[in-house]
């Protein structure tokens, strides 16, 4: 165990040591899907990787999730879906992000999505799909890579 402060200190490109900003992630459960064991495991994994994780709780609407993502200014919005409603819910969320000038939010989807929908979701702007059997470290690496690719904002 060390001081949180020293954990958060990172060397910047120009050699200065500064306080880092942990990656902020909003994990959302949308619609009638009532299973959140998985999303809680993901929350814990991301926390242990040094990220700030905000969890919405169950049964949220797309509007609620997008509003929360904006107020919390998250880097990543993770939508957990096990209900099969992804082709209804994801387009709504992407449209709302666009409408509210928040399309710089990185959207990833986790849970159960049939292979044939994966491309459609990506075309909608979902950056990555982290489906069943994704190992925890892969989730962490993916989010870190996506935030790196986006660059500072």
């Amino acid at each position: 165990m060390q001081s949180v402060y020293s954990l958060l200190c990172v060397k910047k490109h120009d050699g200065r040591i500064l306080m880092s900003s942990p990656i902020r992630v909003l994990l959302a459960k949308v619609g009638l899907d009532g299973h959140d064991r998985g999303v809680k495991v993901v929350a814990r994994t991301l926390r242990d990787a040094g990220m700030d994780v905000i969890y919405t709780g169950l049964h949220r609407t797309p509007d609620e999730v997008v509003n929360a993502a904006i107020q919390e200014d998250v880097d990543v919005l993770g939508i957990s879906l096990l209900s099969g409603a992804h082709m209804t819910i994801c387009p709504k969320i992407m449209a709302l992000l666009e409408e509210k000038d928040a399309s710089d939010t990185i959207v990833v989807v986790g849970g159960v999505v049939p292979d044939e929908d994966v491309n459609a979701l990506k075309e909608m702007g979902v950056k990555e799909l982290l489906l069943q059997d994704t190992p925890p470290n892969k989730i962490v690496e993916t989010l870190q890579r996506l935030v790196d690719e986006r660059g500072p904002r």
Binding site: V4, Y5, L18, A43, T56, E72, D73, R153
Partner: protein
């Protein structure tokens, strides 16, 4: 390309909440490059009433905040909430879960909720909580509620950060001796006993009232020698929605006393002092890490082996800090 902070501040002053949320992230990052913008925000702020809400973990703070905000909204006032949860001492990460209790507020445009992690701050607040309060103040929120992490007995920083401090106690967590201990219970402007639908809540209310009556009165007094403010104990039940109206009236009454008497003048000075110390401490800390980082690990190793003592080492390290 990132939007310049100056431009975000201009948008914030027009009430743009997207700018508000981005500025809060920049405040949390503690980059010295943004300090001028944060300074400008500080100078434009000062209109909102800041309510601090603290209490032990599980005492019902988030649920109470949710009820409070819902009820305050009935008279049209806009409310911002800064909800703080702890950062992990192992990874630096956090799970910010206060929002879950406030889901009924998300679709109200007059409410803004921001979750923050403590990031190494140990007094119950997040490192940039007060800058976030300034930002909401400038964005036009009438009341800003800061909900601290669940505290123990000694995290009293909130009293130096808010205009009205509420300490929430839940029934069944301690006896009358707990009630006369120093620390958290002393800082309340308003005591709340939550979960008053429980039968043992009257006991907790009595313990707190007895504690308050016992104290030597160190309150600031008016010309006739009467205390400007007597700390009340309000019982609430978030489940039944009881006591919430009384609590809001009490907060408003405290705000009026705060704004019109010496009480507020002294409080504002204390808050200003706290912020000066904290800001200086943060700057010093980051510059300390910046200028000593290469040698810090080796020094710590030697101190652990007792080859070197922390006093000599710290003096030496501090002399190398670039001011």
């Amino acid at each position: 390309m990132p939007i310049p902070s100056g431009e975000l501040v201009a948008r914030l002053k027009k009430g743009d909440l997207r700018a508000a949320s981005r500025l809060m992230s920049r405040a949390e990052a503690h980059d010295e490059a943004t300090l001028a913008s944060m300074g400008e925000i500080y100078k434009s702020a000062g209109r909102a009433h800041i309510v601090g809400l603290t209490g032990v973990p599980g005492s019902g703070k988030s649920t109470l905040v949710s009820k409070l905000v819902e009820t305050i909204r009935n008279d049209g006032r806009r409310v911002g909430v800064i909800a703080i949860d702890p950062s992990s001492p192992f990874s630096g990460g956090s799970i910010l879960g206060d929002r879950i209790r406030m889901t009924n507020l998300v679709m109200d445009e007059g409410v803004y909720i921001r979750s923050m992690a403590t990031r190494g701050s140990t007094g119950g607040l997040a490192r940039s909580a007060l800058t976030a309060v300034d930002i909401l103040d400038v964005a036009g929120f009438d009341i800003v509620i800061i909900e601290t992490v669940g505290v123990g007995q000694d995290e009293v920083e909130i009293a130096q950060a808010s205009h009205s401090t509420i300490v929430v106690s839940a029934p069944g967590l301690g006896d009358d001796v707990q009630a006369i201990k120093a620390g958290i219970l002393e800082i309340a402007d308003i005591h709340v006993v939550s979960k008053c639908d429980r039968p043992d809540s009257n006991r907790t209310i009595t313990d707190l009232k007895t504690m308050l009556a016992m104290g030597i009165n160190i309150a600031i007094k008016d010309q006739e020698g009467r205390p400007l403010w007597q700390v009340p104990v309000v019982g609430t039940s978030s489940e039944r929605g009881e006591g919430i109206d009384t609590l809001i009236q009490t907060i408003d009454r405290h705000r009026d006393v705060h704004r019109s008497t010496q009480l507020g003048v002294e409080r504002m000075r204390r808050i200003a002092e706290y912020r000066t110390f904290k800001t200086a401490e943060d700057l010093l800390r980051s510059r300390f890490f910046d200028s000593t980082n290469n040698r810090l690990n080796a020094t710590v190793d030697r101190i652990a082996k007792r080859e070197l003592d922390p006093f000599t080492a710290s003096t030496e390290l501090l002399s190398k800090v670039a001011f």
